[in-house]
Amino acid sequence: MTRTAGKAGTQVGTGTGPEGGLAGGPAIGAPAGAGNGAGAGERRIDWAARYMPVLQAIGARFAAERPLAGLRVAACLHVTAETAVLMGALKAGGAEIALAASNPLSTQDDVAAALAGYGITVHARAGVDRDTYYRHIHRALDVEPDLVLDDGCDLVNILHTERTELLDRVRGGCEETTTGIIRLRRMAADGALRFPMVAVNDTRTKRMFDNRYGTGQSTLDGIMRATNALLAGRTVVVAGFGFCGRGVAERARGLGARVIVTEIDPVKALDASLQGYEVRPMAEAAELGDVFVTVTGNRDVIRAEHLAVMKDGAILANAGHFDVEIDVRALGEMAVELNPGVRPNTDEYVLADGRRLLLLAEGRLVNLTAAEGHPAAVMDMSFSAHALAVAWLARESEHMAPAVHDVPAEIDAEVARLKLAAAGVAIDTLTPAQEDYLRSWRLGS
């Protein structure tokens, strides 16, 4: 069992197998965790931790209750400062952790390096090729996990296809994104899923914070950092009006852009329309947009026929999970000239008629690649639910079927409650008379 540096050759983050809990290294995100002498990664993690009060509170509780003592966790998540704080909470709960990246471009190398110092094994580096990306996931699985944490279902998929020898040991896992859950449900429907998976994406707090507010803000942050384009007065086409799309559309409008939404779902399209957005098919929107953002979870949302009619200088960005939403291959085939890196994270494709299309982050998640992903305060919500769900799984997995499970409503409410407390927001509670009223069906006016 190898969980140390050097053997795999490619990982930058290294760590020794921790003896358990906080003894393996300094507490992640603790106030004294990163002093002036700390490295960039430590400072970054410390900064994120400041905005993650809920996860910190859970970490403190875990340190006392040790709900994960003796368990091994293989995680495939974006290796960012916020993820580091989650890892810290799980480690405080007694877990031994191996972490791989869930995206070849999104790793914050300094954070990966810092995690090693906290006693967490990391297999990740920004900008790796496809083979290395998958090799890293294999290395994380080498920990022989009891529990898995996934973001996009790549790790669980490999486990069920290439690493079946590990399946018997796995008690269950958590999946972070919509895309991953769609894959898991297909696996479950085929009878292929071998252990319970908790859809931590599907909590009300996560959808609200992560998808709507997190993706909304960070996607525009990514576009602005990559291009420095003024959005006021420009036409922004948002493909998909799910929670993410709605967040992106709201933020784009807030910056003064004219927003066009494309949808395939009539209910969502109607919602967008009633919120005052222009709803059109992509075939029409393609000619009108200055900036395109795909947030659908589907492939080929922007394809050759659309690229063919776009304006000179159109900006293409994807904020959906995978890099399939914009048909980058078609773009490459149409281009007569490619100027990579005209700005960091911005590649210019010159078409035969001279039009230039700007692809951000190679069509991968622009908010993670060109900016810093969700703000820590947003990740505080989803990762807190994640942490509590892991503890719940550790406790209950024996009684759970190999299927996709929702996070219990109590965990969702607990996360929201802790967040409100951290923000100093007080709310009302029902009076006994009100509770009676809600229970009774006899009382009318």
Partner: protein, 476 residues
């Protein structure tokens, strides 16, 4: 007490509405409090010619509280709220049998003859004297005095020309009668007037014209161009009442509809913002590149009317120009598209052209809402016959907006009446520190806490700690 209103028994209802309005007019109420002891308008005899509404009642009673004697007429034959007029006549302490308020000459639905008779009465004190101050909206009281003086000097009132407007004939007739009764009345009246404060663009335009050609007889303050007047009336007032008008007239769901706003001046900006706030997708048309760019930077699609005339659901004109929506445009519109105007005059939508469309039928749905059915069977809905839809279909500006313009009016009256020497013949705007004062008086009611400049900060930007804070050319 002489007066003429529709029905004094409406006074109680009027008083209830005045009481509600007082709460929403914090500027006027603050002025009453500030000048309760000094009564700076003691000795002022003010003739007002301004829409006799509930909000105006609060203005009138503020002038009285400051010591003025007041006589009032409306400035529009349709705009009087009869219950407000009755309540002002009865006054807070009187009864319909024993009115103790202010002489008002106004009712809803005056003829033109009656209208100018009312204006004449408001300018005539029972002892035969006239006012020493005018408060005008549109300049009709100012006009009557100026024309009276002109004709008295000329020795005769001219006969109207064949093609003169009907109203001009009525004015000449009124002046002919008054000059026959008392050949020097208008000259004496004009000599006694210290000045006029004018409420609106149209009246201000007349004043500047008279100043230019040397016929202006007394100084004037242009209240219209105070920031706290024009911004509130145009932008915030219309932002409120455009939606109110649409809802009351049609109750159509605005969310999801495509609304075209013609013109992106202050009125258009208010309308576009309000429609967007209701979930409409708003498209703007403009002729001015600056306003068009502003609209684009605010995230609105800007295009020409022809591009969207067939697809939009709601059309609002706010240009101040004529023939914006032509009969040809309306013929191409979607079935049951809503067409309305919020600009000052009723010529932005070509109603005459619409009526001339061969085979068109007009079906009245309810007051101020007409369905016009084209021969092909499709129809459009026109609000308020193309007149101001916020006044026609709703109740125009709310009290809080009017509190801003009327506080300007009161402060301008105090300025002209108490500092007559500082205002030689000419047209003035209210000094900026008074504009700022009007705004200041409305902050408390909204719970606004203002930051105060330190002396050093004030010096750094070269202003006084207490204002004015902006140069004259500042655009807000």
């Amino acid at each position: 007490m002489d007066f003429k209103v529709a029905d004094l028994s409406l006074a109680e209802f009027g008083r209830k509405e005045i009481r509600l309005a007082e709460h929403e007019m914090p500027g006027l109420m603050a002025v009453r409090k500030e000048y309760a002891d000094t009564k700076p308008l003691r000795g002022a005899k003010i003739t007002g010619s301004l829409h006799m509404t509930v909000q105006t009642a609060v203005l009138i009673e503020t002038l009285v509280a400051l010591g003025a004697e007041v006589r009032w007429a409306s400035c529009n034959i349709f705009s009087t709220q009869d219950h407000a007029a009755a309540a002002v006549v009865v006054g807070p302490d009187g009864t319909p049998d024993d009115p103790k308020g202010v002489p008002v000459f106004a009712w809803k639905g005056e003829t033109l003859e009656e209208y100018w008779w009312c204006t004449d009465q408001a300018l005539r004190w029972p002892d035969g004297t006239g006012p020493n101050m005018l408060l005008d909206d549109g300049g009709d009281a100012t006009l009557l005095v100026h024309k009276g003086v002109e004709f008295e000097k000329a020795g005769a009132v001219p006969s109207p020309a064949e093609d003169d407007p009907e109203e001009w004939k009525v004015i000449l007739d009124r002046l002919r009668r008054t000059i026959a009764e008392d050949p020097t009345r208008w000259s004496r009246t004009a000599a006694g007037i210290k000045g006029v404060t004018e409420e609106t663009t149209t009246g201000v335009h007349r004043l500047y014209e008279m100043e230019r050609n040397g016929t202006l007889l007394f100084p004037a303050i242009n209240v219209n161009d105070s920031v706290t007047k024009s911004k509130f009336d145009n932008k915030y007032g219309c932002r409120h009442s455009v939606i109110d008008g649409l809802n009351r007239a049609t109750d159509v769901l605005i969310g999801g509809k495509v609304a075209v706003v013609c013109g992106y001046g202050d009125v258009g900006k208010g309308c576009a913002e309000a429609l967007r706030g209701q979930g409409a997708r708003v498209i703007v048309t403009e002729i001015d590149p600056i306003c068009a760019l502003q609209a684009a930077m605010d995230g609105f699609q800007v295009t020409v009317l022809e591009d969207v005339v067939e697809t939009a659901d709601i059309f609002i004109t706010a240009t101040g120009n004529f023939n914006i929506i032509t009969a040809e445009h309306m013929a191409k519109m979607k079935h049951q598209a809503i067409v309305a105007n919020i600009g000052h005059f009723d010529n932005e939508i070509d109603m005459a052209g619409l009526a001339r469309t061969p085979g068109i039928k007009k079906i009245n749905i309810k007051p101020q809402v007409d369905e016009w059915v084209f021969p092909d069977g499709h129809s459009i809905i026109v609000l308020a016959e193309g007149r101001l839809m916020n006044l026609g279909c709703a109740t125009g500006h709310p009290s809080f907006v009017m509190s801003n313009s009327f506080t300007n009016q009161v402060i301008a009256q105090i300025e002209l009446f108490t500092k007559t020497d500082q205002y030689p013949l000419g047209v003035y705007r209210l000094p900026k520190h008074l504009d700022e004062k009007v705004a200041r008086l409305h902050l408390d009611a909204l719970g606004v806490k203002l930051t105060k400049l330190t002396k050093k900060q004030a010096e750094y930007i070269g202003v006084d700690v207490d204002g004015p804070y902006k140069p004259e050319h500042y655009r807000y």
